[in-house]
Symmetry: C2
Subunit: 127 residues, 2 copies
Amino acid sequence: MRHEPNRPTDAELQILEVLWSTGPSTVREVHDAISARRETGYTTILKLMQIMADKGLVIRDTDQRSHVYRTKRKAEQTQKQLVKDLIGRAFGGSANRLVLQALQVQKISTDEINAIRELLDDLENKE
Amino acid sequence: MRHEPNRPTDAELQILEVLWSTGPSTVREVHDAISARRETGYTTILKLMQIMADKGLVIRDTDQRSHVYRTKRKAEQTQKQLVKDLIGRAFGGSANRLVLQALQVQKISTDEINAIRELLDDLENKE
DNA sequence: TAGTAACTACGAAATCCTTCGTTGACACAT
DNA sequence: ATGTGTCAACGAAGGATTTCGTAGTTACTA
């Protein structure tokens, strides 16, 4: 099963989320953030982050004794890739069908609805 | 890594898609459909479908010599679950943020845009 | 300087996913 | 009845993912 450019796994995604929200971090900081919600060993996170560096998902700065990791791609890029992937795997390639489902899985606020409307207007005008 | 109610894997999803579009099918039929686009052995598909029956992703009718498989859940249910899952894993739980990304990964037709607008209107009125 | 704490590196185990070869049963046609 | 083809069942291999123990190194502190 060959994946497109390095689709992150579940555990990798958890780490990416920490790095996205907190910015460049040490293994210790990432472990603290994740172990607050889920029991996990320090070396588990360390190993994962080393693998992610090998894969090119994150970039490691080894200047200090505590290496500092940062994401290689912005959250939006990776999220867009994941969405594209799911569209291809489960929605017959139709982004539209995914959107229609997504709008119904969770209550969306009026503000958010209006934000989506604006984006639709933009997309339409871009024709 | 414990998943919620049986998230289908990549290979399983391919099989589900065949069953969704074709309806209840034998292993032979599913294999024919999949091997048309991707080289794969018959027993590979057989094994996967047996596992899926064990997991409860599909239901097997063994009345005939060629067992007939059908999906346990409708496409929409499974798709909604997959979307919900991705929202939780990669979008900090916000369906809205996934939708905003999804609308930009692929060109959407005017008809589709209008269909989304209608759904937004419905959701708003449901308040 | 000796001891403690924190860090990286390494290897290996456990599980899951995907693949397929082999076997034995069954059905059909010669 | 014999051979040919199709089927389910099973086991096992190979790879990916996740987990963590252990070892060795570096920094800090008493």
